[in-house]
């Protein structure tokens, strides 16, 4: 491969990293407050998205760099998801970032995080996966502490400590995967696992359980969820909105790639072992997240517990491995796609409302519907979608994932789905009681709440996404299915 072809192969990531450098230099060289940082950031994201589109149109080009990265439909799906989420957060956080000391650093770090996660989605080798995952993590620690205020710094250090421990566990797991299979590339691992050596079951199991700890930290599934409520409450809300969707998407992307490609989707001797592991994680996350959320009074902390519960829902898709179908992995991808729109919408509305009423307590949201019908309307729509009520996207996503799990034909998966349905009912309590507070309670004051133009645009976009994917889910489903097919390409 020529030099240009190699660059082209990881083009979206390179564009994002270069863009981050440009944003930092512009912030440093141009007079204070004059640099068009938001414009540069958005331009970078457009270039990265366009580059991914170019790959999508010219046909994807398989592995490169000795097989360390692949450019396939699966990677493209997540690159599009990450780039759009980053762009939405950039636009929605312009007002908040105005008051930030470290504006340039904030935008540059967002771009680096997006770039590292795009690379993660393309990762096909343990070394590259490790580096991309750690780049993402370290950047996000800094982002959480970016305001350098008391709570932000505290949330940052708590996130960092949990992340460092999770990374330590993960790398030990990588050591065992490498030692047992003798390969760092996922193709090499797959070749070894498919030869079915029963005596390698123990070290492989040790390896993938430890690896799941590192990925589980990114996804915020129990038992690696400890950071989520604290960081959601203490971190700067725009950063958290980014983290809640992008970090989760990145974690699930690489988990799908490693477990489905490396350890075999449904047709190897250990696939049922790790499917059961993810099933257990899913049940624990849903129970812990939903029961924890019931007693929360702070909107951000509630969303933190809700994100743990939602991660449990997605993990059901991971557990639904069955030979020859792509229902499980495509369910994960479809769920994540709708989750990006839903959760960003909920977070943006919380930011817009709480900025004006000066409180994140849910009881202070009383009567917000009378003061800001559109803002509260978007928030209600997103909460309904998180609950999973038709005609929102969240309903279709849950239906799709649950259906995939039942179709996989394992009795224990049916039990997991039954627990998930009960959990949906539990989650309705806190989501809908928040909706009731906003709609029915009387406001303390009558002044209307207004928000900025960019924020309104992003709220509109998120609400459109939630409704569109709820009413016309076919395009996203077929994209997710084509992406999932790329995962199960037979080895050459």
């Amino acid at each position: 491969m020529s030099g240009w072809e190699l660059v082209h192969h990881i083009g979206p990531s390179i564009a994002l990293f270069v863009g981050a450098g440009i944003v930092l230099s512009a912030d440093m060289l141009l007079p204070r407050g004059r640099a068009p940082l938001v414009m540069l950031t958005l331009l970078t994201l457009v270039v990265a998205g366009g580059w991914a589109l170019w790959h999508a149109n010219t046909g994807t080009s398989g592995p490169a760099f000795e097989g360390a990265v692949v450019m396939d439909r699966f990677a493209l799906f997540f690159i599009f998801l990450l780039v759009s989420a980053t762009a939405a957060v950039t636009v929605a956080s312009t007002e908040w970032a105005q008051e930030l000391d470290l504006k340039g650093e904030y935008y540059a770090l967002l771009l680096v995080a997006a770039g590292a996660m795009s690379l993660l989605a393309q990762g096909n080798d343990l070394i590259l996966i490790f580096i991309a995952l750690e780049t993402t993590s370290i950047v996000q620690y800094v982002l959480v502490g970016v305001t350098r205020k008391d709570r932000s710094a505290e949330a940052g250090i708590k996130y960092l400590i949990s992340g460092a421990v999770a990374a330590g566990l993960m790398i030990y797991g990588f050591a065992f995967l490498f030692g047992t299979t003798g390969a760092t590339s996922l193709d090499g691992i797959a070749t070894f696992v498919q030869s079915g050596p029963e005596d390698a079951r123990l070290p492989l199991t040790l390896g993938f359980v430890l690896v799941a700890a590192g990925f589980g930290f990114k996804m915020a599934i129990v038992p690696f969820h400890g950071w989520a409520p604290d960081v959601y409450q203490g971190g700067p809300t725009p950063v958290i909105s980014f983290l809640s969707v992008a970090s989760k998407a990145g974690g699930f992307a690489i988990a799908l790639r490693l477990f489905y490609n490396g350890l075999g989707g449904g047709d190897t001797f250990i696939s049922e072992d790790w499917a059961i592991m993810f099933g257990v994680f899913a049940v624990a996350s849903m129970l812990f997240g939903n029961l924890g959320a019931l007693v929360q009074t702070d909107a951000r902390r509630l969303l933190g517990y809700s994100s743990i519960a939602q991660a449990g829902n997605v993990a059901i898709g991971l557990a639904a491995v069955a030979a020859g179908t792509t229902l499980g992995p495509s369910g994960v991808m479809f769920f994540l796609g709708t989750y990006v729109a839903t959760n960003l919408g909920a977070f943006f509305a919380v930011i817009a409302i709480s900025e004006r009423i000066g409180s994140y307590e849910i009881k202070d949201y009383a009567g917000v519907f009378k003061r800001a019908p559109i803002l509260a309307g978007v928030l209600m729509l997103c909460l309904l979608s998180l609950t999973g009520i038709p005609p929102t996207a969240g309903f279709i996503a849950k239906l799709y994932v649950f259906n995939g799990a039942v179709q996989a034909g394992e009795e224990w998966l049916v039990a997991v789905v039954a627990i998930a349905v009960v959990n949906t009912a539990i989650s309705a309590f806190y989501y809908l009681s928040w909706v009731r507070t906003m709609a029915l309670d009387d406001p303390e004051e009558e002044t209307s709440i207004r928000t900025t133009g960019p924020m309104q645009a992003m709220l509109g976009l998120a609400a459109t996404g939630v409704l569109f994917f709820g009413l016309v889910p076919a395009p996203l489903i077929s994209a997710a299915q084509r992406a999932a097919e790329a995962l199960s390409v037979p080895l050459s």
Binding site: I157, A167, L169
Partner: protein, 108 residues
């Protein structure tokens, strides 16, 4: 007595266990970071031992991948420690403590 893969893995396992125990039990941020360093170095030892001794390598696979991995782990560990210590200093300036139990405006 010949030193085999099992011996290296035993040492690596013990160091990893000590690291995990420190990381989970200590409440001082710096001590937790030291525990994490032990975990990472235990992994490095395991990587090198596997790379040198493992019989699992297919023909044509470069066992040097393990050595390469160690270099990257060291680099990432340094970057992580730099960010962690910067944050610890930031916290210390505001609270005069780096004790995780006392950094608790947020419920842990």
């Amino acid at each position: 007595m010949t030193i085999t893969l099992a011996h290296y893995l035993a040492v690596s396992g013990i160091v990893f266990g000590i690291g995990v125990a420190i990381a989970l039990s200590k409440r001082n941020v710096v001590a937790v970071l030291m525990g994490v360093e032990l975990m990472l170095n235990a992994s490095n030892l395991a990587f090198l031992a596997f790379s040198r001794f493992s019989g699992a390598f297919q023909p044509g696979t470069e066992p040097l991948a393990g050595h390469t991995f160690v270099v990257f782990v060291l680099t990432v560990a340094a970057a992580e420690a730099a960010v962690a210590l910067a944050m610890a200093v930031l916290i210390y300036r505001r609270r005069e403590t780096v004790d995780l139990d006392r950094i608790s405006v947020l419920r842990w």
